[in-house]
């Protein structure tokens, strides 16, 4: 066992050597490896920027004359609406389930993550299938009251509601972890200083979870920007639908890619604007002793709490699931043996992408924290940008970049290069990585911020000099972040559709592909069985990940601790 002084000297020598290496070799080995990785992951997004070499002025002018203003307004309304809705809902529900105990909270707090297993567009068409014109509800109402006129449910507010319900789990997950790992001192101090419950929540609790909330909202924003299928079911025109129309209607891929680059720009500006709003404030979590003990609710409050949580769960998960089950029953004749194969393929792809994205994300986040500085932060931001691109644009970008490089590929690397040609799984995994790095990075960043210097120093002071003990201190702290990150990447890849469609090997279909093929022909009933199997598959990562989250303290053990 080495003495503390020796270890400290070793450590500082190690850091010194790394930084000297970096300084003398310019980028250094580390830098160039990272640069290569970044270039590979960014290639599809950059492929989109290449389109600007042929500016399609006519198309832009036509858009400016007709739809551009409406597109901006619609997209802005959708973005702000969904951000606001998910922020309020996510934070509210997360607080409800971490600060309080009410009957049913044990399973509800995990159940509220389940909406992640339903693809957004499936939620959209299930919603319209229940509430829309000709849907189950209104048709039934019309049967009872023949004079009832069915209402068109395709208003912007409803779209915000549907997207919000589909995306609030991001906020819920990240903010929930932040709440659970937060110390109770700030809150207690503010209460003893005379602030009311509400005031102390607003001034002591909320600001401390701001980094987690910001990270989650950036993810929600990018997913909203990139969402095509769900908004097109409502026939709501946003930037993404304009991209599709320009590409498939005007037969102009260059102009469509140029429109997509606007989304890239917004994706880059989002985190920057968050930082701007934050100003000079620094949200450092002080090292805490005890975590919050949830307060039990009784009587009317318990009922209210259960109702709120359950309604959200019902609207976002149970109701669409019921509609899907109903449709699947109608289409039960078509259920055949191929579903097992589809399931395995879907799971395999999701697992592969997660297996690569997670360690990669960990490396990048640790790197950016270790080296510090703006450059590394920008690298992390850039890597996340692929998430704001509609999947189909990213897929086309990948294919175009590969197509451009292939003629120049040297014969000696031909054996390796064939792994990258369209139709190989490797390219599919790479494209999914490009798209979903943001999820891994966001969740890891907000989780890794839990590890603070004071914690490290305290552990050293207490004589923790073995690596094993180190991991027993740190692992519980980073495990939830890793679990959340893995969960998000897995479910997103599992339900990913456009990239899988374009880049999959022959005969290699996933559940999402099957759902697409039926829904694109308007056969919702036949799209329901694969959708249900997909939801069932999603239960697995949700269950595994939620077990690794920060534990909610039990009132039973409160006597064991002094606080």
């Amino acid at each position: 066992m080495w003495s503390t002084r020796t270890r400290t000297r070793e450590a500082s020598e190690l850091s010194l050597r790394w930084s000297m290496l970096g300084r003398y070799l310019g980028l250094g080995v580390l830098g160039s490896v990272v640069l290569a990785l970044v270039a590979i992951l960014l290639a599809p997004s950059l492929g989109v920027l290449l389109a600007w070499t042929d500016p399609q002025v006519e198309v832009w002018r036509h858009l400016a004359d007709t739809r551009l203003a409406t597109l901006f307004l619609n997209t802005a309304f959708l973005l702000l609406g969904v951000l606001g809705f998910t922020a309020v809902l996510g934070v509210g529900i997360a607080w409800l389930n971490t600060a309080f105990v009410y009957p049913g909270h044990v399973w509800l707090q995990y159940a509220l993550v389940l909406p992640l297993a339903i693809p957004v567009y499936v939620l959209a068409f299930a919603f319209l299938g229940i509430f829309g014109i000709g849907g189950s509800l209104q048709t039934q109402l019309q049967t009872w009251w023949p004079t009832y006129t069915q209402m068109d449910m395709r208003s912007p507010l409803v779209i915000v509601l549907v997207l919000g319900l589909a995306l609030f789990p991001y906020v819920y997950l990240l903010v929930r972890n932040a709440f659970l790992s937060q110390g109770v001192e700030l809150l207690e101090a503010s209460r003893t200083l005379g602030l009311t419950r509400y005031q102390s929540f607003k001034r002591a609790v909320l600001p401390a979870i701001r980094p987690a909330l910001a990270a989650a909202l950036v993810l929600v924003a990018m997913e909203t920007l990139a969402e095509f299928a769900a908004v097109s079911i409502f026939n709501y025109d946003t930037f993404t639908t304009a991209i599709y129309k320009t590409w498939f209607g005007l037969f102009n891929f260059s102009a469509a890619a140029q429109l997509a680059s606007v989304l890239l720009l917004i994706a880059l500006l989002l985190p920057a604007s968050e930082r701007l709003l934050r100003g000079r404030a620094h949200y450092d979590d002080t090292f805490h002793g005890a975590s919050r003990i949830p307060r039990p609710l009784h009587g009317i409050y318990a009922v209210l709490a259960f109702t709120v949580s359950f309604s959200v769960f019902a609207l976002a998960f149970l109701l669409p699931l019921t509609q899907l089950a109903f449709w699947a029953w109608e289409a039960r004749a078509h259920f055949d043996g191929q579903y097992m194969e589809l399931l395995i393929r879907t799971g395999t792809l999701a697992f592969m992408v997660t297996a690569v994205a997670l360690p990669l994300g960990l490396i990048f986040v640790s790197l950016s924290r270790w080296r510090g500085g703006r450059a590394w932060l920008t690298v992390v931001r850039l890597l996340s940008v692929g998430y704001a691109l509609p999947g189909v644009v990213l897929a086309a970008g990948v294919v175009s970049v590969v197509g451009v490089i292939t003629p120049y590929a040297h014969p000696t690397v031909a054996w390796l290069w064939q792994f990258i040609l369209p139709g190989s799984l490797a390219l599919l995994v790479l494209a999914c990585l490009s798209r979903f790095m943001a999820l891994g990075l966001g969740a890891l960043e907000s989780g890794l911020s839990r590890i603070r210097r004071p914690l490290t120093e305290a552990a050293v002071l207490l004589g923790s000099s073995r690596i094993g003990v180190m991991w027993r201190v740190y692992l519980p702290l980073i495990a939830p972040a890793i679990a959340t990150s893995a969960l998000l990447i897995f479910v997103e890849t599992m339900r990913e559709m456009p990239i899988t469609l374009l880049l999959r090997p022959f005969g290699w279909d996933t559940l999402a592909v099957r759902i697409f093929e039926f829904s694109t022909e308007g056969e919702w009933a036949r799209a329901a069985p694969p959708a249900l199997v997909l939801v069932a598959l999603g239960l697995v990562p949700v269950f595994l990940a939620m077990r690794r989250q920060y534990p909610v303290r039990n009132r039973k053990h409160s006597n064991d601790y002094v606080h």
């Binding site: 450590a11 850091s15 026939n235 897929a395 590969v402 139709g423 799984l425 690596i467 469609l501």
Partner: protein, 357 residues
């Protein structure tokens, strides 16, 4: 251990896991790569890039394999991304045939130089002239009509004549339409531009927009549901969506309160579109691909292909399915469908200007 040491340690662990993961992933990827490179270097199957869903084409391809012994491999996706992939792949593509819906997509593929010209007496005989490319780059394989569907209780068939008629005052607040973003409407408006000229077409579309009872729908089926629900009285849809809905209602022993009306029957004929295919420029098996195309235009295949989606066959010698027979004899417009592709961009611009979204 300092904070920095911990981070370096984390990175090292991450790198270790990453390496293991990469090894696993790459070995798993071997499967897909081998198949694809096999097909690329000229395996033994005809490769089809198809914009028609797999459940519609698979039974047809199975029948082809049974008949001829030639295997068919297909990749399904939307027409646009498929074409982008085809263009990007260039000479390394494994695709022999591009199968897609809507003449506009086929026209665009030809323009992009992705299809090769094919001279075939069989195809020329089976596929009418207006349903194929003049240079033989692509051939229609099934036909769909864009028809008017009305509510039997609120509309009399005598009130309807043609698409332009739906722009009249009497249909104010009674019309439901599908979005202009869907290629079927883009082709319809392209046909109107060709037939009546830009100005008149613009008038008609503006008239439609004024008559809309509700904002345009994302799908034909949604529009049909709206007519059933009573929010509007009349709509324009592709024939097979109506056929499908009628079949679903019949399966539940209910009578659908909708009826089909074939507009412009006397002249110039009902607007029709095709699903069709062409052989790719860099096809590795052009002869086999030609056999598949010719087989698809033959009577046996036509019956299968058309019936899988309740469409009209292009081969005039094939009889219609009973459902389609019930609608009456179809007098289709003989305007060359390639026109739709040529005028598609103009029609999109026109619909944007008329505020039809």
């Amino acid at each position: 251990m300092t904070h920095n040491q911990l981070l370096v340690n984390l990175m090292a662990q991450g790198a270790r896991v990453l390496l293991v993961a990469l090894v696993l992933v790459l070995s798993a990827c071997d499967e897909g790569t081998r198949t694809s490179s096999n097909l690329r270097s000229g395996g033994d199957a005809v490769v089809v890039y198809s914009a028609r869903s797999e459940y519609l084409i698979e039974p047809v391809f199975k029948a082809f394999t049974q008949d001829t012994g030639i295997e068919v491999r297909s990749l399904t996706d939307k027409a646009g991304p498929l074409l982008t992939r085809l263009i990007a792949e260039g000479a390394t593509t494994s695709a022999d045939i591009l199968l897609t819906v809507d003449a506009g997509n086929l026209w665009h593929a030809t323009r992009s130089g992705m299809l090769r010209s094919v001279d075939s007496a069989v195809l020329a005989q089976n596929v009418p002239e207006h349903l194929r490319d003049t240079q033989g780059h692509w051939y229609g394989l099934s036909m769909r009509a864009r028809v008017i569907v009305y509510h039997t209780e609120r509309v009399q068939a005598t009130e309807l004549h043609d698409y332009a008629g739906l722009a009249e005052e009497r249909w104010h607040d009674r019309l439901c339409l599908r979005t202009s973003k869907k290629v079927y409407n883009q082709s319809l408006v392209a046909a109107l531009i060709q037939r009546h000229g830009q100005l008149r077409a613009r008038e008609i579309v503006s008239g439609w927009v004024d008559n809309l009872a509700l904002p345009p729908f994302a799908s034909d089926t949604q529009a049909l549901e709206a007519v059933i629900a009573g929010n509007c009285d009349v709509t324009v849809v592709n024939s097979y969506y109506f056929a499908r809905l009628e079949r679903d209602w019949r399966a539940k022993s209910k009578v659908i309160p909708l009826q089909i009306y074939l507009p412009d029957q006397d002249s110039p004929g009902v607007h029709v579109n095709i699903s069709g295919a062409g052989i790719t420029k860099h096809a590795k098996h052009p002869k086999l691909a030609l056999r598949l195309l010719e087989w698809l235009s033959s009577e046996h295949a036509q019956r299968l292909f058309a019936e899988s989606n309740l469409e009209y066959p292009v081969n005039a010698r094939v009889s219609l399915s009973p459902t389609l027979e019930d609608w009456g004899t179809l007098n289709a417009d003989t305007m060359p469908v390639s026109v739709f592709g040529a005028l598609q961009a103009r029609s999109v611009v026109l619909m944007d200007a008329a505020a039809y979204h």
